[in-house]
């Protein structure tokens, strides 16, 4: 790994390719920056709601004098701000950027993309204001009131189409694994969202079909939208930063198609014990367990691509976050498969274990990978370096430790809660009181995550506004000393 010439051995050899990438970066710059700023803003807003909801769980009187700050509304505002505000905006930024780069197709009409993005965020603001005002629907994951959702759907369509267009006008024969994931997800999300809106809100299906649709949607938002986008990002950035190919094309194929085939069935395991035909639940359980296949495959593929280069992973802000996310993907998915089994679900259902699991997935996996994506993308878009390695370190440690504390607290407490709830000799109120220490630990973890988010936001703002102060020539911002070639 020493430099044999003036040129880094990792560098792309072709000046033409570099020029092309630069052109693509500049074509998406304005829109991607808008999405990053929006995403980070929603991340901060969602964090505030999260802290409120977390405190209320053990201090019910906290900030309860205002109707719009009651637990039910704040919790749903948190969920939607994070999923559709942070999650979708950061996907629009990182996912579209990766798609454009891999397709080697600049985004034309970038103004339209920016306008659609503005409308997405207007729709979301209206929706979350509606939730706080009390117009919340009673459907988990679809709480946004009906007057905001059409705007969201239309503006999504106008954003997602740019990813599809980039793919349509791609150059080169080979389609890389990240492109499969991102392209598929760009179609999966509108399918999920529109079907769920129609069948639950606009023309409600009768009876339990609503619940089946609800959990089909809610679980698939994680599995067919956030997951493929995060995996696509990891698949792009691991080899990109390390300058080494992904281990196996065959494993990539297997992992992608197994996800596409099995995930769609899995959501129904949320309704174990419910009054729906048992074959539907059993099919959901089998599909949930079958998800072990893509998870192991992706885990091996990522691990074998990284193995031996752990120092570089540790040094690169991007990879430090992404590898944390990729490891979390394996852990959270195997936990999820186990939770779908009837015997395990009997304990974990209706407890904080499930809450811990969803944060494990959305934060430790998806969000951490997206943080990594932002750490790689922003220097390319802005042609500046990250102003502070210390802030990145604070961000990493606060997030990594925070989410670990949260998952351990909620899942340990949730498991105990489930065992106690199944024991008819323990009064219900006692089981509730016994969760309080774990919920306090969750609040502490929330404070830790908040610290990380603040560090992240400061670093981004510093990078955006302190324009001249940060010179790219000084080299990339790394998290550990190195005597070798620069990697980010």
């Amino acid at each position: 790994m020493s430099n044999s010439s003036n040129e880094s051995p990792y560098s792309a050899n072709s000046a033409a390719v570099r020029a092309e990438l630069s052109e693509i970066d500049s074509s998406i710059r304005s829109a991607a920056l808008f999405f990053v700023i929006s995403a980070v803003s929603w991340l901060m807003v969602g964090t505030v709601f999260a802290l409120l909801a977390a405190f209320k769980a053990h201090e019910p009187d906290f900030a309860s004098t205002f109707e719009f700050l009651t637990f039910g509304r704040v919790r749903s505002a948190h969920l939607n701000a994070m999923a559709l505000g942070w999650g979708n905006n950061i996907i629009f930024a990182v996912g579209l950027w990766i798609m454009a780069r891999l397709c080697r197709a600049p985004i034309n009409h970038k103004g339209l993309l920016l306008v659609a993005g503005i409308f997405w965020n207007i729709g979301l603001t209206v929706g979350i204001a509606g939730i706080l005002k009390g117009d919340i629907t009673s459907v988990e994951w679809l709480e946004i009131p009906h007057y905001a959702t059409p705007l969201l759907a239309i503006s999504y369509a106008l954003i997602g189409v740019w990813g599809v267009m980039a793919f349509r006008f791609r150059k080169g024969d080979h389609v890389y694994v990240s492109q499969w994931y991102i392209l598929a997800a760009l179609f999966w999300f509108p399918w999920l969202y529109v079907v769920a809106q129609i069948m639950i809100i606009w023309f409600p299906a009768r009876g339990v079909v609503q619940s089946v649709t609800n959990w089909w949607f809610a679980h698939n938002v994680l599995g067919l939208w956030l997951t493929p986008m995060a995996l696509g990002t990891a698949y792009y950035l691991i080899p990109k930063v390390l300058g080494r190919p992904i281990y196996s094309y065959y494993l990539s194929v297997l992992g992608f198609w197994a996800l596409a085939i099995f995930y769609n069935w899995a959501g129904v395991h949320h309704l174990i014990g419910g009054p729906i035909p048992v074959w539907l639940i059993s099919a959901g359980i089998v599909a949930s367990v079958m998800m072990v296949i893509p998870v192991i495959v992706v885990g091996i593929n990522h691990h074998m691509s990284v193995v031996g280069l752990h120092k570089e992973v540790w040094r690169s802000p991007t990879l430090r976050f992404i590898v944390f996310g990729a490891i979390s993907y394996t852990l959270v998915s195997l936990t999820g498969s186990a939770m779908a089994l009837r015997s395990v679900n009997e304990v974990t259902h209706f407890t904080h274990f499930t809450v811990g699991h969803s944060h494990h997935g959305v934060y430790a996996f998806f969000t951490m990978i997206m943080f990594g994506g932002v750490y790689y993308m922003m220097p390319r878009l802005l042609k500046r370096e990250w102003p502070s390695a210390s802030l990145i370190k604070i961000h990493f440690w606060a997030s990594a430790l925070g989410i670990t504390v949260m998952v351990v607290a909620l899942q340990t407490g949730g498991w105990i809660q489930g065992l106690e709830m199944n024991n008819a000799e323990i009064p219900f109120l006692e089981t509730v009181q016994n969760t309080i220490p774990w919920l306090k630990a969750r609040s502490i973890s929330g404070v830790m995550l908040t610290i990380g988010h603040i560090a992240f936001a400061i670093n981004i703002a510093w990078m955006l506004f302190a324009a001249g102060a940060v010179r790219a020539k000084q080299g990339p911002t790394l998290l550990a000393d190195t005597k070798e070639g620069g990697n980010v």
């Binding site: 560098s11 891999l102 196996s248």
Partner: protein, 235 residues
């Protein structure tokens, strides 16, 4: 660090020379620093899938199939429990009463001689209707059915001398249930009003008499009778 510009020193045409000049500009170097150190766009290797994974996946698929068969409620829309038994509500085979079963057996096996109304044929086949042989001790009539009857017998004041075949295991081998049925039928038809003879009683009698190869005579019939078993309570 690849801070040094991309040196393409060997053959310099005009464009590369221009680029080289541009690259030496400090500002330009600054702007393009990320681009210069950027590595190739990612691609994939072609390592084979580890073979043990295939066994793991095959085992998972096998488990999935077994689980679906076991807990799918037969894929019925109205099955809600994982322990649903598709046969639980299936109609059970209709169990007809001993008397009705006996009526059928009588029509097929007995009515040719003893006649449908059980009044027999004078001088040839003795009547069953009103016969004390039939309505008396249940073991008597059971013996006749199991092993048959030979020789003279007096029924309702008339004397008969014929051969009644055996219907037990040594003869026409009707099932114990059929024997119980037909005996119950003749003991309770045409004004006869005697107790039911159960399958269990016939089983006991058969155990006693199936080894006997010769038919009974009228005189033997009343010897060594056991106690009359308690009849099953009427339903």
């Amino acid at each position: 660090m690849s801070e040094q510009p991309h040196n393409s020193s060997s053959n310099s045409n005009s464009r590369e020379a221009l680029e080289k000049a541009a690259m030496q500009d400090e500002h330009m170097q600054d702007v393009h620093a990320q681009l210069m150190r950027e590595k190739e766009e990612p691609h994939e290797g072609f390592s084979p899938v580890p073979i043990f994974l295939m066994f793991v996946f095959a085992a998972l698929c096998f488990w999935g199939g077994v689980y679906l068969v076991e807990y799918s409620g037969n894929f019925q829309a109205n099955a809600f429990s994982p322990h649903f038994d598709p046969n639980a509500n299936a109609p059970k085979p209709v169990e007809i009463s001993l008397y009705d079963r006996g009526a059928k057996v009588f029509r097929n096996q007995c009515a040719a001689c003893h006649q449908a109304e059980g009044n027999g044929v004078p001088g040839v086949y003795p009547p069953l209707e009103g016969s004390t042989w039939v309505t008396g001790h249940p073991e008597v009539v059971s013996r006749i059915l199991i092993n048959g009857l030979n020789g003279k017998i007096e029924v309702k004041g008339n004397s008969y001398n014929g051969n009644m075949p055996a219907f037990g295991p040594s003869g026409l081998a009707l099932s114990e249930k059929d024997l119980a049925g037909v005996i119950t039928f003749i003991r309770q038809s045409w004004g006869n009003d005697a107790s039911e003879v159960t399958e269990q009683m016939i089983a006991d009698y058969s155990a006693n008499y199936s080894a006997r190869s010769t038919p009974w005579t009228a005189a033997e019939l009343k010897e060594g009778l056991g106690p009359i078993p308690e009849a099953a309570p009427a339903e």
